[in-house]
């Protein structure tokens, strides 16, 4: 990756983070921690990986992205607005009655959303279903599904993992946003999900571990997945919950809390001045 592209990706991710904060601040509701933790991965997917066109959002040949951790909807809407699937001025209406931006992703209301999600675990199975349809029709689109690490506590994720492996879905990639926190605290204390890599490996996945905030590692990881045949892949992306806003980082209290005006301004200022 050349320096120019790296700079562009970093600037875009910064923009995604600012938009996440704007959405949640405007709504006084939403999930900043887990949206900020996946901002870089979403930025790379939408800017460099997904074969999609905002002029034809339902193109049957398009790549699909399923946000199974649907509570990070503000991050999805931010990147969709940057990709022109949504007008940017509606971001401030996030979670309001008049808005097409529902609290959790709604495929029937929001252009660019490939699957309605929000109930944890279900997006993983649905993403498998899309990948299976691709196999049935011998189409070469790829499916990416972003899963929270707390979400791995849902049994359905492992039912889905069995299915993806059993049917050799090599056109799907699971991405785990491994930020180590969930609403009630640390995942290792609430319900330990380790060792994640070994679990997926034993389910028949090719596993790849990356730093979720390093674009070079994201690029290497996501390039690799396309080469894997006859088995699904999982990219375990080690992230920091609340990444980019110092007082939100690694603090489970920011899982589902909106910043007040002072906190919002401080967060935006931090991103503009310090974050590179």
């Amino acid at each position: 990756m050349n320096q120019e592209k790296l700079k562009f990706l970093k600037e875009t991710a910064k923009d995604v983070r600012k938009k996440i904060l704007l959405e949640i601040y405007s709504a006084q509701s939403g999930h900043p921690g887990g949206s900020l933790s996946c901002a870089d991965v979403l930025t790379f997917l939408y800017m460099e990986v997904l074969n999609i066109d905002s002029q034809n959002p339902l193109d049957p040949f398009r790549d699909r992205f399923v946000l199974s951790k649907g509570h990070a909807s503000s991050a999805l809407y931010a990147i969709l607005s940057i990709k022109n699937f949504l007008p940017q001025h509606i971001l401030k209406d996030f979670r309001q009655c008049s808005s097409i931006l529902q609290g959790h992703p709604d495929m029937k209301r929001t252009p660019g959303v490939d699957m309605s999600t929000g109930s944890l675990g279900q997006g993983v199975s649905a993403a498998n279903g899309i990948a299976l349809a691709g196999k049935i029709d011998k189409m070469d689109f790829r499916v990416y599904v972003l899963i929270g690490d707390g979400e791995l506590q849902e049994g359905q994720v492992w039912e889905a993992a069995m299915f993806a492996s059993h049917y050799k879905l090599d056109n799907i990639t699971y991405i785990i946003d491994l930020n180590g926190l969930q609403i009630d605290g640390k995942t290792e204390e609430i319900m330990n999900i380790s060792p994640i890599e070994q679990k997926f490996a034993s389910f028949g996945f090719k596993t790849i571990e990356i730093d979720a905030h390093d674009f070079l590692e994201i690029e290497t990881g996501l390039n690799q997945v396309k080469l894997i045949k006859k088995k699904p892949t999982v990219v375990i992306a080690k992230s920091i919950k609340g990444k980019g806003v110092s007082f939100m980082e690694n603090n489970p209290n920011w899982h589902g809390t909106a910043p007040n005006s002072e906190q919002f301004e401080k967060a935006i200022r931090e991103l503009e001045e310090k974050y590179v």
Partner: protein, 321 residues
């Protein structure tokens, strides 16, 4: 063939529409019981066994449907409507996807497997979900026809099927529409509204009642949601008394649906025959029908009681100055 199960109608319907490449069938390790096995045999590349993981099956169906497939997903009613309720609600019904949940082994007619497997709650559970169409066919031919119809109507369906071979009411010339109740027999004293295998019981009860001078209308409600309000209101006005019959808890099922309509539109006395808020037990279906009072004799018994109460109320009103 004299008796056939509605689930057989499902398997045969899948064979008749299976050439359509949009159709994909999922099952969760019950393909011989649900009869999806016949589709699997003829169209193996569009059949996928999901193993014993019903929630995963339903959400997978949602994903397939979002990519343009018409998905039939099957299990027993208990595990489809019961275990996978939330997947049906959130993955399928909320986004209004084209998934047809064909749930077999509904009701106490499952028989010997007992209370854990006799799902008497599924209609109630499914009725509360927006966008959901609920179909409860009364015989093989009705099941086959309505399932074929469902494939060409967008949106989620819950289709309730039985294990037990039941008497045929219709034949291959069946041609009724989803959403429309069927007046099977006319009458003037009472309306018996039934669904599923109890429609045949209602027809038998009508014959017995006729011997006692009671003229009963029999209506088959194969589509429980959206329900045919018109035929229910009209027949209740014509007869003045309504009995509902179902192989389902009287809470939440057909009886509830009819009560809701009549309470608002034409409040009259009615009787709900069905499972009286109980769990089932193991036994032969005919014995269970007797124990739980879901058969022609019970319909006759409760119809007579209802008409007697109705008469008393009517007389009291007459006596009132």
């Amino acid at each position: 063939m004299s008796k056939r199960a509605t689930r057989e109608g499902y398997g045969d319907a899948l064979l008749e529409i299976g050439d359509d490449k949009k159709i994909v069938v999922l099952d969760s390790d019950l393909s011989n019981s649900t009869r999806t096995c016949v589709f699997k045999k003829k169209y193996p590349l569009r059949f996928f066994n999901c193993g014993i993981a019903e929630g995963n099956m339903i959400s997978t169906a949602a994903g397939l449907s979002s990519a343009g497939k018409v998905v039939f997903a099957s299990s027993f009613a208990m595990f489809a409507a019961g275990r996978a309720f939330e997947q049906i609600r959130n993955s399928v019904a909320h986004p209004n996807l084209n998934v047809k949940i064909c749930a077999s082994h509904a009701g106490i007619s499952v028989g010997e497997d007992g209370g854990s497997h006799q799902c008497n709650e599924d209609i109630g559970i499914m009725r509360t979900i927006p966008n959901m169409t609920i179909v409860s066919p009364s015989d093989y031919y009705e099941a086959k026809f309505l399932i074929k119809s469902s494939a060409y109507i967008d949106g989620p369906f819950y289709i309730r099927l039985g294990r037990l071979a039941v008497d045929n009411i219709f034949n291959d010339s069946y041609n009724f529409n989803l959403g429309k109740g069927i007046l099977l027999e006319d009458g003037k004293d009472v309306t018996i509204i039934a669904t599923g295998l109890t429609v045949f019981f209602a027809l038998e009860a009508r014959k017995i009642l006729r011997q006692d001078g009671i003229s009963a209308k029999v209506i088959n409600i194969h589509t429980i949601k959206p329900i045919d309000k018109e035929i229910i209101i009209k027949s209740s006005e014509e007869t003045g008394a309504v009995v509902t019959v179902e192989e389902h808890n009287i809470i939440g099922g057909l009886g509830s649906a009819v009560s809701e309509i009549l309470c608002e539109e034409n409040p009259i006395l009615m009787k709900r025959i069905g499972i009286q808020d109980l769990f089932g037990i193991s036994g032969k279906p005919t014995e269970l029908f007797k124990i739980y009072e879901i058969n022609a004799d019970s319909i006759v018994k409760y119809t007579k009681i209802l008409l007697k109460i109705n008469l008393n109320v009517f007389n009291k009103l007459e006596d009132f100055p």
